[in-house]
Symmetry: C5
Subunit: 159 residues, 5 copies
């Protein structure tokens, strides 16, 4: 199985490297046979076609798309355009793209934002492996308020 | 007939299980011959391609897509991207996806939000069965202000 | 010619029936040979694929898609997603879908909202017939501020 | 070369006629051999499929799509849906659609709004001819702040 | 390799020329064999189909799409429609479009806005070359907060 890693020069941390490290670590631990292909583009709006190219030209089976969203309102709108583009890219290829976006507005504190980013990238890297090799493990965690970049949410009472 | 159930780890309740239970119960009661296929993904933005895969790879005839929307403004925008993606997935496959979204902003009270969620998932599960086996029953309820997760709305006066 | 009527259970009035009555009345008056096919779905976001199915499976030549938009901000956003979906459905089929949306925010008075709804559905039903049988009649009304659900707008001065 | 003119009954001025007059006048002046095909639809959201039909059924080489946007917030959102639809229609056909939108919010004064409308429609009609017959003339005006419906903008200092 | 340059008459600076000059300079310096094809359109919403035509009719391998966004809220929404359209154009062609947008709201000072514009166009012109000829150089700058039209952002602490 081949995992594409699409990241950006715009991001304020090496999201691609964090993902690659997390995937090697987890795939080694689980004994999953994986290859990786990394593709870096300028910014978040370039991730959709980068993912398409990773599927079509590099024969990836899944892509982890790593985007960092700036502080301005324009940046948030770019994230929305990028998000729609990534979903269309998934529909055109019939394959998953883990859409890992970190928004500058999530924390004004750089250290905290860094923590959020690292946690989210690592957890979604494992999610990519699980989608490929252990989809049942996602079913087991269905509805459990899983969060990436934050503590998990509490379950709702259904009584 | 095969019904796909797409749900998420992000949700704060096991929406997939609620849907499956509701579909078994109703299909048994009505004597509808159904099979189900469940697919759990990380979050709401993954539901479009999950539905596509349920149609293409698992040969589902309809999908119930269960999404839970977080509290932040970013989450609401993700719901919009996901909604557009699900509609495009429907158009590409020519099949219905019941788009069952529960928004955290619908109630600050967890117990109430849980009630909304359960009612909406159960009613849309029955809607999925009706679309497949008894489309005429929807025509009979046309324009009657049917709500899922709330009381039905009052009819408008047309005099 | 076959006209598809797509409406919803969510709506607070039987929009499908109003459309069907208006189309029978007008087509009888004009001597247009029409057939109709009705399809009721849960809500506004289901209208795009319903229209697609009316074109592909029921061989309709045009669709009147009748949506009712709730009061919440979420409902308005759903209307936007539905609107984009309907336009994509038109582009994929190369056929018109009359997009007849009534928004709860148009009037707080139920009786007035009912009036708006009835007028809009009836006028767009006639528009559907005109697009099929008398496109020139639309050209004759071009730029005349035609409104559905309200009085026509005044022409602008071009001096 | 065949130019499609798509306009609406909703508009508060006969935008189609203004475009046709402008195109005849300019094409006569320049000696361009053009044919025109007019298609009037109810409102702005119908322009995308109208343009698609002008390309596919009427073999137009370019379309001038003339939309008028009402005053309500809902109208502005419809303009956005229409805009996305028109761009998708262009991508599906590989041909230009001049997207000529006049927004009611551009002026509260009807006479002024009429002026804006006339100027914008006329200038974009000429743009359509230039795209077909004299693309180099657009290159010559690149970056010169060309406005339709307003005075041209001033160039930025690049020192 | 052939680079398409799509720009607009709307822009308040000759963005196409800046891009062409930057690409000649850099490709000469690096010894990259490039050809260019320029295509000027009226405004930002025309860039998606212009890029599509540059790929399909002019056989370009990549496109630099240069858009200038006006001051009004309507202009910002047009930028969003254009952005979505450009991403869809990329997905349909499987090739990169550098989406270089300058927003009037980025500075009220014309001289400053001009500086932003020049820097952004030049840097993205080099990015286009790097994507074609030296993709590894983007990987080396991954996550380094690269900005076009502004100073680079500071790295986040990941401790």
């Amino acid at each position: 199985m081949k995992i594409g890693i699409a990241d950006t020069m715009f991001a304020r941390a090496n999201m691609g490297k964090i993902a690659i490290d997390a995937i090697w670590k987890e795939s080694k631990k689980q004994g999953y046979p994986v290859e990786m292909e990394r593709y870096t583009v300028p910014g978040i709006k370039d991730l959709a076609v980068a993912s398409k190219k990773l599927f079509d030209e590099k024969k990836c089976d899944i892509v982890v798309a790593l985007g960092f969203v700036g502080e301005a309102e324009v940046d948030e709108r770019c994230a929305m355009e990028a998000g729609i583009g990534l979903i269309i890219a998934e529909l055109l290829s019939g394959k998953h793209i883990l859409k890992v976006f970190v928004h500058s507005c999530e924390s004004k504190n750089g250290r905290e934002l860094g923590k959020i980013l690292k946690d989210r990238v690592e957890k979604h890297s494992v999610n990519a492996l699980d989608l490929l090799f252990a989809p049942q493990s996602l079913v087991e965690k269905a509805g459990t308020g899983q969060r990436q970049g934050a503590e998990n949410a509490k379950p709702l009472s259904l009584e």
